[in-house]
Symmetry: C2
Subunit: 424 residues, 2 copies
């Protein structure tokens, strides 16, 4: 019996999972390797970090998603390297051979060379990151309630978010709502509404990747929620009790106990592991520079998609690290592989941008569909719909909807647990 064409996909994020699903009808065996047993809907991770949803609401077990796809299997394992000569992925405890390899291991945080900042300013990429941030936010209010002098209280009630991209903006908006609405009557010594939320951004406006008028709208929404936005401001140091920022030639130390990192992103270290034996090029943030068909130059059987890929064959510079790019690349590669097996060629990959959206707290958002820009309540409804439709399992849609409805009407957030051993 001839073995079928083996497609190995490393990473079960948006890119990898869509590639696997799009190969359902192809005459191939698909092996999806991931070190976690679930696909994570990262765009909603900030809602876990702010107590609105539970981790399981935005995570779908990979096996459950692929259980009916007979040509796919899931391998829980950690890829640590590649042997392109022998067409093998090296795992921590074993290896897998491939005929076609799709690498989609995404990106992590990047502290601009200051890795020591990580412990004082956690980023938001994993479920554990989200529950850690949730604990820190809640513990800050608890510490303020028990603190003695007003300086100490102020420091616990000051939250600094670094980076005003979509994640930073969404975190800031949710934090403002926690302070002003959710925790309103919860404390006896402090007023949570006294919390100061600072959003620090190096560019000259929030959501720098969006059109200027939407940035202005987002900024106004944040202002209404009580968030202080500081643009053209660079972070120069982060300690356990302060953040030092520089704006022009003015340097200032801000006393705070809670710093959240939503700034730098860096490609997964597997990018480097793949570049070494293949001689592939890496961009500034460690992404692999791919060919127009998202393959590795010189290795037509290896594809790199999603946040790990630097795709620079379309106007406007490399494609951004967002879910729609990863999904479209995943589907594209699946189709290319199926066509190739039939001896057919494929046109280069082309990203179709259907728009960008960011939500800013309760009932406010901005949306840029290219041909149409809008904001406020309609944008928020659009955001809600798009995200609900895209959460993978139906049960999770229902659970998210119930919790959002509850949250909307009562301003409560039920998933407010301080779990795990806190580091401080």
């Amino acid at each position: 019996m001839v073995q079928r064409h083996q497609v190995v996909i490393v990473g079960g994020g948006f890119g990898g999972l869509h590639a696997a699903q799009s190969l359902a009808g192809a005459p191939v065996d698909v092996t999806l390797v991931d070190r976690r047993n679930f696909h994570l809907f990262q765009p909603l991770l900030y809602q876990v970090a702010t107590g609105a949803l539970s981790p399981a609401n935005i995570a779908s077990p990979l096996r459950a998603v692929l259980k009916r796809q007979k040509n796919a299997r899931v391998l829980l394992g950690e890829a640590i390297g590649f042997d392109p000569r022998n067409r093998t992925v090296v795992l921590k405890d074993g290896q897998v051979s491939y005929d076609t390899l799709i690498v989609a291991t995404g990106a992590g945080h990047h502290y601009f060379g200051h890795d020591d900042w990580a412990k004082n300013a956690p980023g938001l990429k994993t479920v554990e990151d989200a529950t850690e941030i949730r604990s820190r936010i809640l513990l800050a209010f608890e510490a303020a309630e028990r603190a003695g002098d007003s300086g100490e209280i102020g420091s616990w009630l000051r939250f600094v978010i670094i980076g005003a991209g979509p994640t930073g903006v969404e975190l800031a908006g949710a934090l403002a709502e926690i302070a002003r609405d959710t925790l309103r009557s919860d404390f006896r010594s402090i007023d949570p509404a006294d919390a100061e939320i600072l959003l620090v951004e190096g560019a000259d406006r929030v959501l720098p990747a969006y059109p200027r008028d939407l940035s202005a709208k987002a900024s106004a929404s944040l202002g209404r929620l009580g968030v202080t936005v500081r643009t053209e401001t660079i972070v120069t140091d982060i300690t356990s009790s302060s953040v030092t920022v520089r704006s022009g030639d003015r340097t200032e130390a801000i006393s705070t106990r809670t710093v959240l990192w939503a700034a730098g992103v860096e490609a997964s270290p597997l990018g480097r592991a793949l570049a070494e034996p293949t001689g592939a090029g890496l961009d500034r943030i460690g992404r692999i520079v791919v060919a127009p068909d998202v393959s590795l130059p010189g290795y037509p059987e290896i594809f790199v998609i999603g946040d790990l890929a630097c795709f620079d064959h379309q106007d406007g510079g490399p494609l951004p690290g967002v879910a729609p790019v990863a999904k479209q690349q995943g589907r594209y590669v699946a189709r290319l592989v199926a066509r190739r097996l039939r001896g057919r060629k494929s046109p280069p990959f082309r990203y179709r941008n259907y728009g960008n959206m960011a939500t800013i707290g309760r009932a406010a958002a901005v949306a840029d569909l290219g041909w149409l820009r809008f904001s406020g309540f309609p944008a928020w409804l659009a955001w809600l719909t798009v995200h609900l439709v895209n959460i993978i399992e139906f049960e999770n849609r229902l659970l998210a909807l119930v919790q959002w409805a509850w949250n909307y009407f009562t301003r409560n957030r039920a998933a407010r647990l301080i779990t795990s051993d806190s580091k401080r």
Copy 2:
């Protein structure tokens, strides 16, 4: 201004929380001290451990529960000792003074002097325990899928639960359903239905605290789910790859990678910390022997309630460590304190047993209401209703209901995440 009577409650479980809430109308200030920021609905913890519910669904932030009770405040802090002479509770980082003290810190696991068993056989008392057990169960199936020889696969697919009280029975039933229904089509190399689930009990029947006929019904239900019950069997050793059991004079080593502990319970160490300065008596499992009004003998201003108390003033031996006892004692003490402030006496505490229930997997349960015993689907409906009504926050009721309905009709369990650093 005269300070109001200060009631300090240590522990926000069923006893402590009900005491606090029942003091809402009394002319006192209530301080509820807990080291966690949430009340945990422990009877449903096994559902988190088996991926049916998320931790937040069975946890209610204490501040949210008490936000409208103006005479109550919540203190996030860890009590480590008591100074009854100065009427002070010693916290890890501070102290609180009381006029009346209610201690309700519950119970933890007890490994019969074999504390080294804990790492190989986790018990189920905290949210972290539940997510750890969930990870172990799911990782066992993952390891079996990747294992080479059949002995290894068998060892990963064998689950041993020690103790056939309600928790052990419920865990065994849920585990059987995971293996036979939830994971049915998830794997490619193994058949999860091959999993062996062993329920080991020292007594001569499951649910030894229930009437004999209900034990028999529960045993039959477990048998139908494929659970092997071994009664009159004692555990003599637990390692990372086996459990040694003795039945009569026959000793056997069972090869298994997953052992769950649902056997021994021991009162919280704060019992000892309270007994030392007060000379209170402790029973065999470290509970404080209380007076008929659940106060400490010689200390009419100190009360001990719930799993920490040994109340032996009713027929049938000390009251069991179940939620209804704790709740009724909490309400009783609240009433007693209010009456005492008006110079009135109270009758001794009397537990009213409205019945016991245990569920055994999907659509099966046993219920003993004293005047009525029933089992099967009606008992399961009763169990469902009682537990839904008792989950504290309305949103959590709705979320639990949605997930149970989903689970019932699809046999899916959505909260199947392997999180935290696994220990193996």
